[in-house]
């Protein structure tokens, strides 16, 4: 079997278990909130209007945005609970995912339950009162069984939505089947993407069919179907969740942002920790801003960031000192402000740089960003998803008066492709990207030094700042990874043919820099 398929299968028990747990909890909470709310809403008209409006509003927020919104919310709550009770909340991973997915699950449950209850024959409801039922007896003996088929249909919809949307929770650091999709998309590992999609779809389909069985059972008052459906779901969930119960407790949480280099370095860190006898869980695909906050609040223990990114985004500095001065200042500031330890620079830079195809640059006579500025009004500019909103871009734009005919954002992989196909003329590249050499790209000089240095640095959370096994595992990496080695490693993952998984690449990188791994 193909190495990537084997890789995917190896990860399946953990990803599936996490996905099932997350979906199950979110759906369960959605039902626990949705049903009583629907009952209350049918009794009070005002509440019904408000509840339905709120639930519909939530539904219009894209799933990814909803997840992203919960992160700052939980950070705020965590700070509050830290100051009030002395205990913080985890703002990353399971909690925000469950909260967002629960909100998503509530609407179909609520809407169908309200429709089911409101649609009952008023004569039957009056009869229930007239034979002497209390309000609770009426609900349990008459309203609930009569509305059950419609309610079940709502639960079914909620289940399918939740299982689908749970793939997005990868982006806030919760492992799910979305890990295949997010990492596969970044590394152009289409087998991973396909695998993630198919497994998530099969899971949704299976759950939908079983809930459908229960739904028909409820409609036709056929207890056997209801029991078979319920039992299958319980057994299925039990089997899927087994790996979680068997898994050893994870000791370290290794974070990674959402691109190949980060995946490789996270694997390298995890392998080094493993050699120290520790186990590591990965939190991959974190947004750039989320990653640092997660580290500072202890939701992850270690990750790699870049000096310039921290300098502008976290420290909010607009100057750009020379490389070593920036590193020293960063190290001091991080320790003072956040008690975050900057263990050191890995040796390479991953700077934002503007890149063009070599031929095109020569044709226009462009060697620096200064030259580019003259041609910019006739050129189109492709960037990754965050560049246009980053301070580096405002600084570049200000320094060189850059003004492109068109600006388009891409997932990094597609950005390089767009440059190749001529859809865009200039891109925001990363200097450590293997595709720069492989695709024959020209990095444009930045004579005004508008973009700061981007040394890759290892950051360690306050809690682990002096952790001996962490330090033993990671100190040997400092200063070892040259620009060329990182470009090579990135290209192994990013290239179109003969791709290597981040994990294998991490091992290769470790060997090539002479650092032993497990």
């Amino acid at each position: 079997m193909d190495e990537r398929t084997l890789d995917a299968l190896r990860l399946l028990p953990d990803y599936l278990a996490q996905h099932v747990l997350l979906s199950l909890v979110a759906l369960g909470l959605g039902i626990l909130i949705g049903l009583p709310l629907a009952v209350a809403a049918t009794r009070h008209r005002g509440l019904r209007v408000a509840a339905l409006a709120a639930a519909s509003l939530v539904q219009t927020i894209p799933g990814l945005a909803l997840l992203a919104l919960f992160y700052p919310l939980l950070l705020g709550l965590s700070a509050l609970s830290q100051s009030t009770f002395g205990v913080g909340l985890p703002a990353l991973g399971f909690l925000p995912s469950v909260m967002a997915l629960t909100l998503y699950a509530v609407l179909p449950v609520l809407r169908n339950a309200i429709a089911g209850l409101a649609g009952l024959d008023p004569a039957v409801i009056e009869a229930a009162d007239a034979v002497g039922m209390t309000s609770a007896q009426r609900l349990m003996q008459v309203e609930a069984p009569l509305a059950a088929p419609v309610v079940m249909a709502g639960i079914r919809t909620a289940a399918v939505w939740t299982i689908g949307a749970a793939t997005l929770s990868t982006s806030v650091g919760q492992t799910s089947l979305g890990n295949y999709i997010f990492s596969g998309l970044q590394t152009e590992n289409w087998i991973f993407v396909l695998f993630g999609c198919v497994v998530a779809a099969l899971l949704a389909l299976a759950v939908d069919q079983l809930l459908g069985l229960i739904e028909t059972g409820v409609t036709q008052r056929d207890r056997i179907r209801v029991h078979v459906g319920l039992a299958s779901i319980v057994i299925g969930a039990g089997v899927a969740l087994t790996p979680l119960m068997l898994a050893a407790p994870h000791t370290y949480l290794v974070g990674a942002k959402n691109f190949s280099e980060q995946f490789i370095l996270a694997e390298l860190i995890a392998e080094r920790l493993a050699r120290e006898g520790a186990t590591a869980e990965r939190r991959e695909g974190l947004g750039s801003a989320i990653a640092f906050r997660a580290l500072a609040s202890g939701d992850i223990d270690v990750y790699v960031d870049y000096s310039g990114t921290l300098w502008t985004n976290v420290m909010e500095r607009r100057d750009s000192p020379e490389r070593q001065a920036m590193l020293d200042e960063l190290t001091r500031w991080m320790a003072d402000r956040y008690k975050v330890r900057v263990l050191g620079a890995l040796g390479f830079e991953n700077a934002y740089a503007l890149a063009m195809k070599r031929g095109r640059a020569a044709e226009l006579g462009v060697r620096s960003i200064e030259d580019l500025a003259r041609h910019a009004p006739r050129l189109s500019f492709g960037t990754d998803l965050e560049f246009l909103s980053r301070p580096e871009w405002s600084s570049l734009k200000g320094a060189y008066a850059l003004n492109f005919a068109e600006e388009r954002s891409y997932n990094p992989t597609f950005m390089y492709r767009a440059l190749q196909t001529g859809d865009v003329d200039v891109i925001s590249a990363f200097s450590s990207d293997g595709r720069i050499a492989a695709d024959g790209l020209e990095l444009l000089a930045d004579p005004k030094h508008a973009i700061p240095s981007y040394d890759a640095v290892l950051l360690i959370s306050p809690r682990r700042a002096n952790d001996p096994s962490m330090l033993r595992a990671l100190e040997p990496l400092i200063g070892k990874i040259t620009q060329q080695r990182m470009q090579e490693a990135n290209f192994m993952v990013d290239r179109d043919t003969d791709k290597v998984s981040p994990r294998e690449t991490a091992r290769f990188l470790a060997r090539s820099i002479g650092v032993p791994v497990r």
Binding site: D121, P122, A123, V124, E126, A127, A128, D129, A130, V131, G132, M133, T134, Q137, V142, P145, L146, R221
Partner: protein, 265 residues
């Protein structure tokens, strides 16, 4: 005889006092009577009926049953000792005939065996085959459904039965048969029945007393015989009662009751 059900100056407005659905209704019903509340739609007869088992609460006035204020008792408990039959029939579609009939005894916590015996007894009473017990209400004809409705209403041996247009949805032949079955049950079981109907003829044929209602008030309360001969009173009552009289005369004419027809023979 002392009044059994006593309505005293009941008022109800559904629009904050601009108009009254029921206005100053006072009525005393002796035990064992079958009383019909008659009137056009909107005359307040159904609202008045629902005051008795508190399906609707009056704005002012009181209802007493055997001297006790119904407002002082728990509504669910009160309703379990008053039978209720209505036009919508309102059988629980997810329950079998047996479960429907047994509902009030179940709520009252009767022992299982007693409930089962009672269900058979009731099916006999309303002239339905016992084999119907396990059927679903949706498989029954309208008349059969209403017989189940009656059985459900009297299941817990109430002394009072309230009926809201109970036979309105039935075809004329079925209506007549269910109606006379009920009439005989009423006297056999010694029930006190209050029945709402807009069918004056039905009221005349069935009731011991008729209360004529219009615009939320009771215009007259008397025996059918007295009301039929009532001519000095309100014109509205006279008009209402004239209808069954005219119908009866026409029928008598067709069946040879008219002397002029005899002259030709």
């Amino acid at each position: 005889m002392a009044p059994f059900i006593e309505l005293d100056r009941l008022c109800k407005s559904f629009d904050d006092g601009r108009t009254f659905a029921v206005h100053d209704v006072t009525l005393q019903v002796e035990p064992g009577l079958l009383v019909a509340l008659v009137g056009a739609s909107g005359s307040g007869k159904t609202t008045t009926l629902k005051f008795i088992n508190r399906l609707i609460e009056p704005d002012s006035g009181t209802v007493r049953i055997e001297g006790e204020l119904v407002a002082a008792s728990d509504p669910a408990t009160l309703r379990r000792r008053i039978g209720y039959v209505f036009q919508g029939i309102g059988l629980f579609p997810h329950m079998s005939v047996e479960e429907n009939v047994a509902i009030t005894p179940q709520l009252l916590g009767w022992p299982q065996a007693e409930v089962a015996t009672r269900v058979n007894e009731l099916l006999d009473l309303v002239e339905l085959p016992r084999s119907y017990a396990s059927r679903s209400p949706s498989g029954l004809s309208g008349g059969e459904q209403q017989r189940v409705g009656v059985a459900r209403a009297i299941a817990a041996r109430p002394k009072i039965v309230l009926m809201d247009e109970p036979f309105g949805a039935l075809d004329p032949i079925t209506r007549d048969s269910v109606r006379s079955s009920y009439q005989s049950l009423h006297s056999r079981l010694g029930l006190t029945t209050i029945m709402v109907t807009h069918d004056v003829q039905e009221a005349v044929l069935l009731a011991d007393r008729i209360a004529v209602m219009s615009a939320g008030r009771i215009l007259a309360y008397d025996t059918p015989r007295a009301l039929l001969s009532f001519e000095a009173g309100a014109a509205e009552v006279a008009n209402l009662m004239a209808m069954p009289k005219r119908q009866a005369e026409r029928i008598r004419a067709l069946t040879g009751g008219d002397p002029r027809d005899d002259a030709h023979g």
